[in-house]
């Protein structure tokens, strides 16, 4: 009965044992680890600064000085890609956390209190889901104005409903279980039951969804940036870098190629790892 073990202790060990047998999850973890390293140690790993421009070397091809060449303003592409990991991952993380927290709160309240709270909140969620999420994000940025911060809000808000649904389903299931009923009969407050009993037991599915959501967030952020909704185009976020290369005509094809490849690989990493997590949670699928 895995769901009832405390997530952080036994769950983690159990999961680690699982990862050792699951090839895709290993691959995903490796990619994520690598990107995280790049993001955290960008200052050390990148030979130049992300905004450092070599005005006499515009659009220069790959060389020993500039491993991947330079961009339209003479900035080192390789360094920008490494700093890009930092920006891309933190923006996507912020957006995912936003959807995760907002979605979980709404889902937990709806599932736990039921009745009219459930009705009102879930109607709202249904309503948000009646917009294709990418369009919702596009329109949100249009209203808030073009900037990276607003992009985080837009992607975060657009992603929240799916968290809300998942968490609500989980809470509904937990609410009817014996140990929660026992807590009720002991007279514990709603807050305590939610915080001590319900939320910890929802964590696992939330984390799986969050991992898969990271991939989606990276794609949405990059897509919006590509459409020119990202504000300052010189921030070394991969989607913006792709857009910059796109605008450079004949000279930018390589930049488009490598920034897109970075996006693809990173999203692939999160999806591989997320799939692994899901397999672990759902033994039915593991046995296949």
């Amino acid at each position: 009965m895995k769901e009832f073990t405390i997530f952080f202790a036994t769950g983690a060990r159990d999961f680690w044992r699982f990862v050792l047998t699951h090839r895709p999850a290993q691959g995903g973890l490796a990619i994520i680890g690598l990107m995280m390293l790049a993001a955290v140690f960008a200052n050390v790993l990148a030979p130049y600064g992300a905004m450092e421009a070599f005005r006499d070397q515009l659009h220069s091809p790959a060389s020993s000085d500039h491993w991947l060449g330079t961009d339209s303003q003479g900035r080192d592409l390789y360094s920008r890609l490494i700093f890009g990991a930092r920006y891309t991952l933190s923006i996507a993380l912020a957006a995912t956390l936003l959807s995760l927290v907002a979605g979980s709160v709404v889902g937990a309240l709806a599932g736990y209190f039921g009745r009219w709270v459930d009705l009102v909140l879930m109607r709202l969620v249904d309503f948000m889901m009646s917009f294709p999420s990418f369009l919702l994000a596009v329109v949100t940025v249009a209203v808030l104005g073009k900037s990276l911060e607003n992009l985080i809000w837009a992607v975060g808000i657009a992603g929240a409903p799916s968290f809300a649904r998942q968490v609500r389903a989980e809470v509904l299931r937990l609410r009817s279980l014996e140990f929660v009923e026992a807590a009720h009969s002991l007279g514990y407050s709603h807050g305590r039951i939610l915080a001590r009993h319900i939320i910890p037991n929802c964590l696992t599915p939330i984390i799986v969804l969050g991992t898969l959501g990271m991939g989606g967030s990276i794609l949405s952020v990059a897509g919006l940036a590509f459409l020119g909704l990202g504000g300052d185009v010189f921030v070394p976020e991969w989607g913006l870098m792709l857009k910059l290369g796109w605008d450079q005509s004949s000279k930018g094809a390589f930049q488009v190629g490598v920034s897109g490849a970075c996006i693809l690989v990173t999203v692939l990493g999160f999806n591989l790892f997320g799939d692994g997590l899901r397999d672990w949670l759902d033994p039915r699928s593991r046995s296949r």
Partner: protein, 546 residues
């Protein structure tokens, strides 16, 4: 599953049936030989093909293939006005203009061109109260607002009398907005009660005297594609190629690839970094020219808005800090550094003059800039820099140039926050003066220096809507007005030199940055394409080499 399939079939049936019975006679569909058609890929789109009703450059290029004006620009720069529908003209004191019109000219709709037709077209195009007028006449006020009366003296003599002397009037008559529209079409438009319908009427039924026309409604496929057919009765001789197709593609990369792969024959505004590539391509002819344009940094001078730029010292410091030579790298050799208001191709350009802020070494200038800021007691300055969100002919990559200014001003301790802004909002902000710095530019259409001076640094009694710095000096305004009506070219040039000096040394409301060359490129197997002195490509002589 079978049930589902049959449901699908039932659902689709009406669509199939409807389309099969759509019309009794299917119009003839013919494959067009490649040699009979020239395809143009353009960055702009066209939406209103009514010469009087639009001010969009995208519309103008197409309108100029279909309509003629009384006078036309010379093929080679600088802009001179040559006979077109008027064979000759004379004026009395720039006030009464008499045109002798060309005989034997026909409109696309079969009507004859004569003085009455020209008169009717001018009436419709300059007066919003005219029963055939569209809802907006964007050029009427500025270029034709001073017309007092229009008379058809005889069949082929037209006389236009102005309220006051205006030396620019002939240039106005050469604008696409002064195109002559068929009286038959105007009579038909009068019957339309709705102004919007009157505006779209000509898009569906072009009625000019030009070499090309849109033969039927289906040839206008919205903004994306316009198909033009040669007009048999064109007075200059039927166009050499019978069809021209204008496609819209915003993506300059794709336009270039379409040209190099041979899918299209002409493209406009190729990206500067591609010029080199295109000129090396043996299959492609790249034509570039120095255009009447200017890219500049407008600095808000109006103290009422409370921006630091209202202090002269701050504006001068900014001027000192900007190094144009480095900025040019972003244009890949397609732009020239510029220090004054009027571009080099225009009358009144002060060739030898350079403002004092723009001379000396970079280090000296930075020193002076810092000293000026210190003297003005300005430290830690943060300024917003607004710029167009999309590229303009004078500003190929707005964010990159803005970023460049940010880097340069950082050296004198000014923190710049670039903000890409849609043109709509930008126009609004400029006319209200609610931004400290705007990176923007201006394009001339007629070779007339006053079209730079009045809108950009003066106005009619108050700063004009396009006056970015909101700069107003009574003395300067009076001199601008005096220079506009001066007939003697050398006197006029002296007046403009004097104005440039006053403005840049004493007021510094703007920092001129550069003038950008323009280009179009076409397949070398096509002969006869030319670009006139105002930058309009002309296609009626274009044909494939044998």
């Amino acid at each position: 599953m079978y049930r589902f399939a049959s449901m699908l079939a039932i659902a689709l049936l009406p669509v199939v049936w409807l389309s099969a019975c759509g019309g009794n006679s299917v119009p003839e569909l013919k494959k067009v030989e490649k040699k009979d058609v020239i395809v143009v890929a353009r960055g702009d789109k066209s939406e209103i093909l009514d010469p009087h009703a639009t001010n969009s450059g995208g519309d103008a290029y197409l309108i100029q293939q279909m309509y003629d004006t009384l006078v036309q620009p010379s093929a080679k720069p600088p802009v001179r006005w040559e006979p077109c529908l008027a064979e000759s003209w004379k004026d009395e004191d720039f006030k009464v203009f008499t045109f002798n019109l060309r005989k034997g000219v026909k409109f696309h709709d079969g009507a004859d061109f004569n003085a009455a037709a020209a008169k009717r077209s001018f009436e419709r195009g300059t007066n919003l109260k005219d029963p055939a007028a569209p809802p907006k006449l964007p050029y009427a006020e500025e270029y034709f607002g001073d017309i007092e009366k229009i008379e058809a003296v005889d069949d082929f003599t037209l006389r236009i009398t102005l309220k006051a002397s205006n030396p620019k009037f002939i240039a106005s008559c050469g604008l696409f907005a002064a195109s002559i529209v068929s009286p038959k079409a105007i009579a038909a438009m009068e019957k339309e009660a709705n102004a919007g319908a009157r505006q779209n009427w000509l898009t569906r039924h072009p009625a000019g005297t030009g070499p090309y026309t849109i033969a039927k409604e289906g040839d206008y496929q919205g903004a994306e594609t316009v198909i033009m057919t040669a007009f048999d009765g064109y007075w200059g001789g039927k166009a050499a190629t019978s069809r021209v197709v204008f496609n819209h593609d915003k993506d300059h990369k794709k336009r270039r690839e379409q040209l190099t792969s041979g899918a299209v024959q002409l493209i406009d505004s190729p990206a500067p970094e591609d010029w080199d590539l295109l000129s090396k391509d043996t299959g492609v002819t790249l034509y570039s020219w120095e255009a009447e344009n200017l890219c500049y940094l407008g600095l808000n001078t109006d103290a009422a808005n409370g921006f630091a730029t209202s202090k002269l010292e701050v504006r001068q410091a900014i001027a000192y800090a900007i190094d144009r030579e480095q900025m040019l790298t972003l244009y890949a050799g397609t732009a020239k550094a510029h220090h004054v208001l009027l571009p080099p191709v225009m009358i009144g350009h002060p060739a030898g003059y350079r403002p004092s802020t723009d001379t000396g070494s970079r280090a000296e200038r930075l020193e002076k800039a810092r000293a000026l800021l210190k003297g003005a007691g300005v430290e830690k300055l943060e300024l917003k820099l607004l710029h167009p969100a999309v590229s303009r002919p004078y500003l190929g990559k707005p964010p990159e140039v803005a970023d460049f200014i940010r880097q340069q001003l950082a050296e004198i301790g000014i923190t710049v926050k670039p903000e890409p802004t849609p043109m709509r909002e930008l126009g609004d902000i400029i006319s209200k003066g609610t931004a400290p710095m705007v990176l923007i530019g201006w394009m001339g259409e007629t070779g007339e220096p006053d079209n730079f001076w009045t809108p950009l640094l003066s106005g009619r009694g108050k700063p004009s809507d396009n006056n970015v710095p909101r700069f107003w000096d009574k003395d300067v305004a009076a001199k601008v007005d005096a220079a506009a009506v001066e007939r003697d070219i050398s006197k006029r040039e002296a007046m403009y030199l004097e104005l440039e000096k006053t403005v840049h040394e004493k007021f510094r409301p703007m920092v001129p940055l550069l003038t950008a060359k323009q280009a179009v490129a076409w397949r070398s197997e096509v002969e006869g394409i030319y670009v006139d002195s105002t930058g309009t490509y002309r296609l009626h002589k274009a044909h494939y080499k044998e």
